[in-house]
């Protein structure tokens, strides 16, 4: 039976949009509606009797420009998914900056922990801070808002793709943060921690987190370049590519993998 699914998202929804456009018949079990919104506009919505409407003038304009609609009737759908929207591994990378915990391979090997420049913290503190950061993200707030308004509607969060490996060339904070994890050999543990915490946090809200598919990753914390090359932008203008130096967005091939992942999750 075909399931009617609405997917909300910020710029990362473009990967799904162009995947669907490229192979519209690839997911016959899902009737997909994609609704994009930039920045925090997804939080600035009201849901009354299942009708989701942007509240502020900016949000209304953004909704209309990107989607040509003024509202979304959630009653018309069997499931909701949220794509991107700050539910990102980058939160873990930021927390890792000056904190380490005992399960990390780099810490297991280290002889003199008190001399370490970074702080030794408990995994419990790391988890608590990561949960807090994720809970404040647009994606989790928006998912929670939908779940609160429509408790019987299945809600999925599709994690934001990890950065492209070429991010390491950028010299910015993201590059430095990820490079630290690579240099210390802690990629697999930090990556797994992020997926576990996001899964637990959302499960506590009755929401399903779909972690980035393994086959789209490289070195645990990056998205393979074949899934980031020629990524597109979310724009009212069609076929607008991300700039050459973009390292955050994935392409239509990635979008196709994620849509298949969502389809499989709906069957479960």
């Amino acid at each position: 039976m075909t399931q009617r699914v609405v997917i909300f998202g910020n710029s990362h929804i473009a990967a799904l949009k162009y995947a669907l456009r490229g192979t519209p018949d690839a997911w016959p079990d899902m009737a997909l509606t994609l609704v994009g919104a930039h920045r925090e506009h997804l939080i600035g919505v009201a849901i009354i009797d299942g009708i989701l409407r942007p509240v502020s003038d900016d949000a209304k304009r953004n909704f209309n420009n990107l989607n040509g609609c003024k509202q979304v009737d959630l009653n018309q759908f069997d499931a909701v998914a949220i794509s991107g929207c700050e539910v990102t591994f980058n939160h873990a990378s930021v927390l890792y900056k000056n904190a380490r915990w005992p399960e990390l391979p780099s810490i297991v090997k280290m002889q003199n922990l008190p001399s370490m420049r970074e702080r030794l913290v408990s995994v419990s503190l790391f988890d608590t801070c990561l949960r807090d950061a994720l809970a404040k993200s647009i994606g989790v707030q928006f998912a929670h808002k939908i779940k609160a308004a429509q408790p019987d509607l299945p809600v999925f969060v599709l994690g934001q793709p990890r950065a492209c490996q070429k991010a390491l060339d950028g010299g910015n904070a993201l590059a430095v943060g990820h490079q630290r994890i690579v240099d210390k050999g802690d990629t697999s543990v930090v990556s797994a921690r992020f997926d576990d915490i996001a899964t637990q946090l959302l499960a506590d809200m009755g929401i399903t987190f779909l972690a980035q598919p393994e086959n789209t990753r490289t070195d645990d914390i990056f998205t393979s370049s074949r899934f980031t090359r020629d990524a597109m932008r979310l724009s009212s203008e069609d076929n607008l590519k991300q700039p050459q130096d973009d390292v955050l967005h994935a392409n239509a091939a990635y979008g196709a993998v994620v849509l298949s992942q969502l389809g499989a999750a709906l069957v479960r």
């Binding site: 930021v94 927390l95 000056n98 005992p102 922990l113 702080r119 408990s122 995994v123 503190l125 950061a133």
Partner: protein
């Protein structure tokens, strides 16, 4: 005929020093033996009231040391729940002089005793600071690893400290009979299991506390021979007493013994001083009342008044005068109180 009282200053007389004290801002209430300046590296430890001192000193631009500073990318409020930023080490509340002595002995020797790990839920906590990991740790080994780290970081901090401020809170504690180790919290209250055969109540005497203060000073000066010690007594009453007395006389006894022991130590050593935070909050001539409706937590205005005296005595300033409270007088002060992490307050949950 001349006599000694003729030449005494106004501060020596009740009428001029106390009754008329307000007019002079209680001048001379604290005459520091040693001065704290913006260059002084200060370490703090003690009961919950000691957290105020650290916060106020930081506000005055004093370098308050922090052996285990919060990772800057982690949320400050969450980290405070995990014992960060409360004192100069992540040792949690230290209520008794004996607890302080034993911690410093551990720090000096790097001793990690595996007997002091308590089960908590499905995990484990450090019995000597049971509240710094609210969710517990996964294994005994992890508790011991974190304790070893904590002790070494604290040692590194003490080596550079110029002044150690210790706020005495309680005389009452629970002791492990086999080792003599005293706990911050009675076993079984927040973690662990109480066993009458191995845990005994102690109400430390003046002589015991004085001996502990000597030991504290001696150990601190092994880290830095020039370390000076500033003692204060917390004005915060006992949450509960296990002495068998009513909690009011038990509080009076506890504070009197702490105050007397501190006073005697200060007479004995030139590098030990006492700051009268207890007197500022509890003396009836100092205005107030400085306690909130629960009659236990010191109101922000009271804290501000204490710290105003402290900073002024050291030629520092940062806080607004006490008559300009840091929060509205009729405002919700519970938010401010919530900033303090007071383990002993957890006992209140056991009141019937």
């Amino acid at each position: 005929m001349k006599h000694p009282y003729e030449d005494l200053p106004a501060t020596a007389f009740w009428r001029t020093g106390a009754v008329d004290g307000d007019a002079t801002g209680f001048a001379g209430l604290h005459r520091p033996k040693f001065t704290i300046t913006p260059d002084t590296k200060v370490a703090t430890a003690g009961s919950c009231f000691a957290q105020h001192i650290g916060q106020a000193l930081r506000g005055a631009g004093i370098a308050v040391l922090d052996a285990e500073a919060r990772p800057t990318t982690m949320d400050e409020t969450i980290c405070r729940r995990f014992g960060y930023g409360l004192f100069s080490g992540r040792y949690g509340n230290i209520y008794t002089a004996r607890q302080m002595t034993q911690l410093l002995q551990d720090v000096a020797q790097g001793t990690v005793d595996p007997r002091f790990v308590w089960p908590k839920g499905a995990g484990f906590v450090d019995a000597l600071r049971p509240t710094v990991e609210p969710d517990g740790l996964a294994s005994i080994d992890e508790v011991l690893l974190h304790r070893a780290y904590h002790l070494e970081r604290t040692a590194q901090m003490l080596r550079v400290a110029d002044v150690f401020i210790f706020t005495l809170g309680l005389t009452e504690a629970w002791e492990d009979l086999e080792t003599g180790r005293v706990f911050a919290m009675c076993p079984g209250t927040v973690a662990g299991t109480f066993d009458a055969a191995s845990h005994a109540f102690r109400n430390f005497t003046h002589a015991e506390i004085l001996a502990d203060l000597h030991e504290i000073r001696a150990i601190l000066q092994r880290f830095n021979p020039d370390m000076q010690v500033l003692l204060t007594v917390s004005p915060v009453p006992l949450t509960a007493t296990a002495s068998g007395d009513h909690v009011i006389p038990a509080t009076a006894y506890s504070k009197a013994v702490l105050r007397a022991a501190a006073g005697e130590a200060v007479i004995q050593f030139n590098d030990m001083d006492y700051f009268p935070s207890f007197e500022i909050i509890t003396s009836h001539v100092m205005g107030g009342p400085w306690f909130d409706d629960g009659q236990r937590t010191v109101r922000p205005e009271g804290v501000a008044r204490v710290m105003q005296h402290f900073l002024a005595a050291h030629g520092l300033s940062a806080l607004p005068p006490a008559d300009q409270p840091t929060s509205p007088p009729d405002g919700d002060i519970s938010d401010d109180d919530a900033d303090l992490i007071c383990d002993e307050l957890l006992l209140d949950a056991f009141a019937k």
